[in-house]
Protein backbone atom coordinates (compact mmCIF):
# COMPACT_ATOMS: atom_id res chain seq x y z
CA UNK A 1 0.00 0.00 0.00
CA UNK A 2 2.77 2.39 1.00
CA UNK A 3 4.63 1.57 -2.21
CA UNK A 4 1.53 2.26 -4.32
CA UNK A 5 1.07 5.66 -2.67
CA UNK A 6 4.70 6.50 -3.36
CA UNK A 7 4.26 5.53 -7.02
CA UNK A 8 1.03 7.53 -7.49
CA UNK A 9 2.40 10.68 -5.82
CA UNK A 10 5.69 10.42 -7.69
CA UNK A 11 3.95 10.66 -11.06
CA UNK A 12 2.41 14.06 -10.27
CA UNK A 13 5.28 15.72 -8.44
CA UNK A 14 8.51 17.36 -9.56
CA UNK A 15 11.71 15.61 -8.34
CA UNK A 16 13.46 18.83 -7.30
CA UNK A 17 10.43 19.88 -5.21
CA UNK A 18 10.25 16.48 -3.56
CA UNK A 19 13.97 16.59 -2.76
CA UNK A 20 13.60 20.06 -1.29
CA UNK A 21 10.65 18.91 0.82
CA UNK A 22 12.52 15.80 1.99
CA UNK A 23 15.50 17.94 3.04
CA UNK A 24 13.19 20.33 4.88
CA UNK A 25 11.58 17.44 6.75
CA UNK A 26 15.00 16.03 7.61
CA UNK A 27 16.13 19.43 8.87
CA UNK A 28 13.05 19.59 11.09
CA UNK A 29 13.91 16.20 12.52
CA UNK A 30 10.86 14.46 11.03
CA UNK A 31 13.00 11.55 9.85
CA UNK A 32 10.16 9.12 9.27
CA UNK A 33 8.36 11.38 6.78
CA UNK A 34 11.68 12.48 5.28
CA UNK A 35 12.43 8.82 4.47
CA UNK A 36 9.10 8.56 2.62
CA UNK A 37 9.89 11.68 0.60
CA UNK A 38 13.40 10.44 -0.23
CA UNK A 39 11.86 7.15 -1.35
CA UNK A 40 9.64 9.03 -3.79
CA UNK A 41 12.73 10.84 -5.13
CA UNK A 42 14.51 7.50 -5.31
CA UNK A 43 11.66 6.07 -7.40
CA UNK A 44 11.78 9.07 -9.81
CA UNK A 45 15.54 8.84 -10.18
CA UNK A 46 15.46 5.17 -11.14
CA UNK A 47 17.94 5.63 -13.98
CA UNK A 48 19.84 8.59 -12.68
CA UNK A 49 23.42 8.81 -11.42
CA UNK A 50 22.19 10.71 -8.33
CA UNK A 51 20.34 7.61 -7.18
CA UNK A 52 23.17 6.37 -4.96
CA UNK A 53 23.38 9.64 -3.03
CA UNK A 54 19.63 9.39 -2.29
CA UNK A 55 20.08 5.79 -1.13
CA UNK A 56 22.82 6.91 1.27
CA UNK A 57 20.47 9.60 2.65
CA UNK A 58 17.75 7.00 3.21
CA UNK A 59 20.25 4.70 4.93
CA UNK A 60 21.42 7.54 7.19
CA UNK A 61 17.83 8.37 8.15
CA UNK A 62 17.01 4.73 8.91
CA UNK A 63 20.10 4.64 11.11
CA UNK A 64 18.84 7.74 12.91
CA UNK A 65 15.50 5.99 13.39
CA UNK A 66 17.45 2.97 14.72
CA UNK A 67 15.91 0.77 12.03
CA UNK A 68 19.12 -1.00 11.02
CA UNK A 69 17.39 -3.83 9.11
CA UNK A 70 15.78 -1.37 6.67
CA UNK A 71 19.02 0.62 6.48
CA UNK A 72 20.84 -2.52 5.36
CA UNK A 73 18.06 -3.35 2.89
CA UNK A 74 18.41 0.07 1.26
CA UNK A 75 22.20 0.03 1.35
CA UNK A 76 22.07 -3.03 -0.91
CA UNK A 77 20.31 -0.86 -3.54
CA UNK A 78 23.53 1.13 -4.09
CA UNK A 79 24.68 0.51 -7.66
CA UNK A 80 28.36 1.34 -7.35
CA UNK A 81 29.53 -0.84 -4.48
CA UNK A 82 33.25 -0.45 -5.19
CA UNK A 83 33.54 2.88 -3.42
CA UNK A 84 34.97 3.90 -0.06
CA UNK A 85 31.60 5.46 0.81
CA UNK A 86 29.84 2.12 0.45
CA UNK A 87 32.53 0.34 2.50
CA UNK A 88 32.22 2.99 5.21
CA UNK A 89 28.42 2.81 5.38
CA UNK A 90 28.41 -0.99 5.41
CA UNK A 91 31.04 -0.99 8.16
CA UNK A 92 29.05 1.59 10.12
CA UNK A 93 25.97 -0.62 9.98
CA UNK A 94 27.87 -3.56 11.47
CA UNK A 95 29.44 -1.19 14.00
CA UNK A 96 26.00 0.01 15.13
CA UNK A 97 24.93 -3.63 15.39
CA UNK A 98 27.87 -4.25 17.70
CA UNK A 99 29.52 -6.66 15.25
CA UNK A 100 32.89 -4.97 15.44
CA UNK A 101 35.01 -7.62 13.71
CA UNK A 102 32.73 -7.46 10.65
CA UNK A 103 32.86 -3.65 10.67
CA UNK A 104 36.65 -3.91 10.73
CA UNK A 105 36.63 -5.87 7.45
CA UNK A 106 34.96 -2.92 5.72
CA UNK A 107 36.98 -0.21 7.47
CA UNK A 108 40.41 -1.46 6.52
CA UNK A 109 41.02 1.82 4.63
CA UNK A 110 41.19 3.84 7.87
CA UNK A 111 43.48 3.05 10.80
CA UNK A 112 41.43 5.30 13.11
CA UNK A 113 38.20 3.48 12.35
CA UNK A 114 39.85 0.07 12.82
CA UNK A 115 41.26 1.30 16.13
CA UNK A 116 37.75 2.43 17.09
CA UNK A 117 36.40 -1.09 16.63
CA UNK A 118 39.18 -2.49 18.82
CA UNK A 119 38.43 0.19 21.40
CA UNK A 120 34.77 -0.84 21.48
CA UNK A 121 35.78 -4.47 21.94
CA UNK A 122 37.93 -3.45 24.89
CA UNK A 123 41.13 -4.56 23.09
CA UNK A 124 43.01 -1.40 24.00
CA UNK A 125 46.46 -2.89 23.33
CA UNK A 126 45.56 -3.17 19.64
CA UNK A 127 44.18 0.36 19.37
CA UNK A 128 47.03 1.96 21.37
CA UNK A 129 49.31 2.64 18.37
CA UNK A 130 46.66 4.76 16.64
CA UNK A 131 44.73 6.47 19.41
CA UNK A 132 47.45 6.72 22.05
CA UNK A 133 47.38 5.40 25.62
CA UNK A 134 44.11 5.12 27.49
CA UNK A 135 44.55 6.25 31.09
CA UNK A 136 41.80 5.46 33.58
CA UNK A 137 41.63 4.61 37.31
CA UNK A 138 41.61 0.92 38.17
CA UNK A 139 41.18 -1.17 41.33
CA UNK A 140 42.61 -4.63 41.81
CA UNK A 141 39.79 -7.23 42.12
CA UNK A 142 42.02 -9.61 44.06
CA UNK A 143 43.08 -6.87 46.47
CA UNK A 144 39.40 -5.99 47.00
CA UNK A 145 38.66 -9.65 47.76
CA UNK A 146 41.63 -9.76 50.14
CA UNK A 147 40.39 -6.68 52.02
CA UNK A 148 36.94 -8.21 52.39
CA UNK A 149 38.50 -11.47 53.59
CA UNK A 150 39.85 -9.69 56.66
CA UNK A 151 37.22 -6.98 57.16
CA UNK A 152 33.85 -7.81 55.51
CA UNK A 153 32.79 -4.93 53.26
CA UNK A 154 36.23 -3.28 53.18
CA UNK A 155 36.83 -4.49 49.61
CA UNK A 156 33.63 -2.84 48.44
CA UNK A 157 34.61 0.43 50.11
CA UNK A 158 38.01 0.13 48.38
CA UNK A 159 36.14 -0.41 45.06
CA UNK A 160 34.28 2.88 45.56
CA UNK A 161 30.97 1.42 46.81
CA UNK A 162 30.88 2.70 50.36
CA UNK A 163 27.18 2.07 51.06
CA UNK A 164 27.43 -1.53 49.79
CA UNK A 165 30.53 -2.02 51.93
CA UNK A 166 28.93 -0.63 55.09
CA UNK A 167 25.82 -2.78 54.54
CA UNK A 168 27.98 -5.90 54.11
CA UNK A 169 29.88 -4.95 57.25
CA UNK A 170 26.62 -4.66 59.19
CA UNK A 171 25.13 -7.93 57.88
CA UNK A 172 28.30 -9.94 58.47
CA UNK A 173 28.89 -8.28 61.84
CA UNK A 174 25.39 -9.10 63.10
CA UNK A 175 25.57 -12.69 61.82
CA UNK A 176 29.07 -13.10 63.28
CA UNK A 177 27.80 -11.89 66.66
CA UNK A 178 24.81 -14.29 66.50
CA UNK A 179 27.18 -17.20 65.75
CA UNK A 180 29.41 -16.22 68.69
CA UNK A 181 26.43 -15.71 71.02
CA UNK A 182 24.80 -19.05 70.19
CA UNK A 183 28.17 -20.82 70.60
CA UNK A 184 28.75 -19.07 73.93
CA UNK A 185 25.38 -20.17 75.28
CA UNK A 186 25.65 -23.69 73.85
CA UNK A 187 22.60 -23.39 71.54
CA UNK A 188 23.55 -26.01 68.99
CA UNK A 189 20.73 -25.63 66.46
CA UNK A 190 20.99 -21.84 66.45
CA UNK A 191 24.75 -22.12 66.13
CA UNK A 192 24.51 -24.34 63.02
CA UNK A 193 21.81 -22.17 61.44
CA UNK A 194 23.65 -18.90 62.05
CA UNK A 195 26.98 -20.41 60.97
CA UNK A 196 25.48 -21.51 57.65
CA UNK A 197 23.96 -18.06 57.11
CA UNK A 198 27.23 -16.37 58.08
CA UNK A 199 29.29 -18.57 55.75
CA UNK A 200 26.85 -17.88 52.91
CA UNK A 201 26.98 -14.11 53.45
CA UNK A 202 30.71 -14.01 54.15
CA UNK A 203 31.76 -15.83 50.94
CA UNK A 204 29.27 -13.71 48.98
CA UNK A 205 30.84 -10.59 50.48
CA UNK A 206 34.34 -11.67 49.37
CA UNK A 207 33.15 -12.53 45.87
CA UNK A 208 31.01 -9.37 45.72
CA UNK A 209 34.06 -7.23 46.49
CA UNK A 210 35.95 -8.96 43.72
CA UNK A 211 33.04 -8.22 41.34
CA UNK A 212 32.71 -4.62 42.56
CA UNK A 213 36.35 -3.90 41.67
CA UNK A 214 35.86 -5.50 38.25
CA UNK A 215 32.74 -3.42 37.64
CA UNK A 216 34.61 -0.31 38.75
CA UNK A 217 37.30 -1.04 36.14
CA UNK A 218 34.72 -1.77 33.42
CA UNK A 219 32.83 1.44 34.15
CA UNK A 220 35.97 3.58 34.06
CA UNK A 221 37.15 1.88 30.88
CA UNK A 222 33.82 2.66 29.20
CA UNK A 223 34.10 6.26 30.41
CA UNK A 224 37.68 6.56 29.10
CA UNK A 225 36.61 5.14 25.73
CA UNK A 226 33.75 7.67 25.47
CA UNK A 227 36.14 10.50 26.30
CA UNK A 228 38.58 9.24 23.68
CA UNK A 229 35.77 9.08 21.11
CA UNK A 230 34.90 12.70 21.86
CA UNK A 231 38.53 13.79 21.72
CA UNK A 232 39.17 12.08 18.38
CA UNK A 233 35.87 13.33 16.97
CA UNK A 234 34.72 9.77 16.23
CA UNK A 235 31.18 10.68 17.29
CA UNK A 236 30.77 12.59 13.99
CA UNK A 237 30.64 9.27 12.12
CA UNK A 238 27.64 8.18 14.15
CA UNK A 239 24.14 8.86 12.73
Amino acid sequence: MQFLLVVVFSIFTNTADMLGFARALEKEGDYYRAVLEYKRVFYNLENSMERDSIVYRIVKLYEKLNDLEDAEKYLEKVRNKNTQRYAFEKGLLYFLWGRYSLARNYWMFSDTLVAWTYLKEGKIYRAKNVIGPLVYPTKSPLLAALFSTFIPGAGKIYAGRASDGLYSMLVNGVLGYLVYNSYKHGRKISFYLYSTAFLFMYTGNVYGSYLAAKQFNDYNLRLAISEKELKLGLWRYLP
Binding site: G98, Y100, L146, Y167, M201, G204, N205, Y210, L211
Partner: protein
Protein backbone atom coordinates in the same frame (compact mmCIF):
# COMPACT_ATOMS: atom_id res chain seq x y z
CA UNK B 1 38.68 -16.45 55.99
CA UNK B 2 41.93 -17.14 54.19
CA UNK B 3 40.40 -20.34 52.80
CA UNK B 4 37.61 -18.48 51.03
CA UNK B 5 40.15 -16.07 49.51
CA UNK B 6 42.31 -18.97 48.32
CA UNK B 7 39.19 -20.63 46.93
CA UNK B 8 38.37 -17.42 45.06
CA UNK B 9 41.85 -17.25 43.53
CA UNK B 10 41.53 -20.93 42.58
CA UNK B 11 38.22 -20.23 40.78
CA UNK B 12 39.73 -17.19 39.06
CA UNK B 13 42.75 -19.11 37.79
CA UNK B 14 40.44 -21.83 36.49
CA UNK B 15 38.50 -19.15 34.60
CA UNK B 16 35.25 -19.98 36.38
CA UNK B 17 34.57 -16.45 37.59
CA UNK B 18 35.68 -14.18 34.78
CA UNK B 19 35.88 -14.26 31.03
CA UNK B 20 36.89 -11.57 28.52
CA UNK B 21 33.95 -9.81 26.90
CA UNK B 22 33.73 -10.97 23.30
CA UNK B 23 30.59 -10.98 21.19
CA UNK B 24 30.87 -14.54 19.80
CA UNK B 25 31.60 -15.73 23.33
CA UNK B 26 28.64 -13.81 24.73
CA UNK B 27 26.40 -15.32 22.08
CA UNK B 28 27.67 -18.82 22.80
CA UNK B 29 27.19 -18.18 26.54
CA UNK B 30 23.58 -17.24 25.85
CA UNK B 31 23.22 -20.46 23.88
CA UNK B 32 24.71 -22.30 26.86
CA UNK B 33 22.27 -20.56 29.19
CA UNK B 34 19.41 -21.75 27.05
CA UNK B 35 20.69 -25.31 27.13
CA UNK B 36 21.23 -25.04 30.90
CA UNK B 37 17.61 -24.02 31.19
CA UNK B 38 16.59 -27.41 29.93
CA UNK B 39 18.71 -29.62 32.16
CA UNK B 40 19.45 -29.12 35.83
CA UNK B 41 20.82 -32.43 37.04
CA UNK B 42 22.48 -31.62 40.36
CA UNK B 43 20.03 -32.72 43.11
CA UNK B 44 21.28 -30.05 45.54
CA UNK B 45 20.77 -27.46 42.84
CA UNK B 46 17.23 -28.78 42.31
CA UNK B 47 16.57 -28.63 46.04
CA UNK B 48 17.70 -24.99 46.25
CA UNK B 49 15.63 -24.04 43.21
CA UNK B 50 12.58 -25.71 44.78
CA UNK B 51 13.18 -23.82 48.03
CA UNK B 52 13.34 -20.50 46.18
CA UNK B 53 10.14 -21.40 44.32
CA UNK B 54 8.50 -22.29 47.63
CA UNK B 55 9.55 -18.92 49.08
CA UNK B 56 8.23 -17.09 46.00
CA UNK B 57 4.87 -18.83 46.23
CA UNK B 58 4.43 -18.43 49.99
CA UNK B 59 6.33 -15.80 52.04
CA UNK B 60 7.00 -13.51 49.10
CA UNK B 61 3.29 -13.22 48.32
CA UNK B 62 2.53 -12.07 51.86
CA UNK B 63 5.40 -9.58 51.92
CA UNK B 64 4.99 -6.07 50.53
CA UNK B 65 7.22 -4.67 47.76
CA UNK B 66 10.65 -4.69 49.40
CA UNK B 67 13.25 -5.46 46.74
CA UNK B 68 15.07 -2.57 45.01
CA UNK B 69 15.95 -4.59 41.93
CA UNK B 70 14.39 -6.20 38.91
CA UNK B 71 14.50 -9.18 38.62
CA UNK B 72 13.89 -9.35 42.37
CA UNK B 73 16.51 -11.02 44.60
CA UNK B 74 14.70 -14.37 44.68
CA UNK B 75 14.30 -14.40 40.89
CA UNK B 76 17.93 -13.37 40.53
CA UNK B 77 18.97 -16.20 42.84
CA UNK B 78 16.85 -18.68 40.92
CA UNK B 79 18.32 -17.60 37.57
CA UNK B 80 21.88 -17.43 38.92
CA UNK B 81 21.76 -20.97 40.39
CA UNK B 82 20.04 -22.35 37.32
CA UNK B 83 22.27 -20.73 34.73
CA UNK B 84 25.63 -20.27 36.41
CA UNK B 85 25.66 -23.48 38.44
CA UNK B 86 25.63 -24.11 42.17
CA UNK B 87 28.86 -22.42 43.34
CA UNK B 88 28.82 -19.26 41.25
CA UNK B 89 25.04 -19.07 41.58
CA UNK B 90 25.19 -19.13 45.38
CA UNK B 91 28.02 -16.58 45.46
CA UNK B 92 26.08 -14.26 43.15
CA UNK B 93 22.89 -14.66 45.19
CA UNK B 94 24.66 -13.89 48.43
CA UNK B 95 26.31 -10.84 46.86
CA UNK B 96 22.97 -9.62 45.47
CA UNK B 97 21.32 -9.92 48.92
CA UNK B 98 24.06 -7.70 50.32
CA UNK B 99 23.61 -5.17 47.53
CA UNK B 100 19.86 -4.89 48.00
CA UNK B 101 19.45 -1.81 50.20
CA UNK B 102 18.25 1.74 49.63
CA UNK B 103 21.85 2.95 49.11
CA UNK B 104 21.98 0.95 45.84
CA UNK B 105 20.04 3.76 44.12
CA UNK B 106 23.22 5.85 44.36
CA UNK B 107 24.79 3.67 41.69
CA UNK B 108 22.06 4.18 39.11
CA UNK B 109 23.48 4.86 35.62
CA UNK B 110 26.86 3.76 36.90
CA UNK B 111 26.42 0.08 37.67
CA UNK B 112 22.66 -0.28 37.22
CA UNK B 113 20.08 1.09 34.83
CA UNK B 114 16.53 2.12 35.69
CA UNK B 115 13.76 -0.14 34.50
CA UNK B 116 10.07 0.55 34.97
CA UNK B 117 8.40 -2.69 36.01
CA UNK B 118 4.73 -2.59 35.02
CA UNK B 119 3.65 -4.24 38.28
CA UNK B 120 6.34 -3.17 40.72
CA UNK B 121 7.22 0.37 39.60
CA UNK B 122 10.72 1.78 38.99
CA UNK B 123 13.50 -0.69 39.83
CA UNK B 124 17.24 -1.11 39.35
CA UNK B 125 17.89 -3.48 36.47
CA UNK B 126 20.40 -6.18 37.38
CA UNK B 127 19.83 -9.56 35.69
CA UNK B 128 21.85 -12.73 36.42
CA UNK B 129 22.90 -12.92 32.76
CA UNK B 130 25.16 -9.89 33.30
CA UNK B 131 27.62 -11.94 35.36
Amino acid sequence: MILSFVFLIFLETRGVLSKEIDLPQVLSTRANLKSAEQKVENPFQNLLLSMIKLYQNSFSLVQSEVCNFTPSCSHFGYDAIKYHGLIKGLLLTSDRLQRCHSGAWKYINKYYTLKIDSLRGPKLYDPAERY
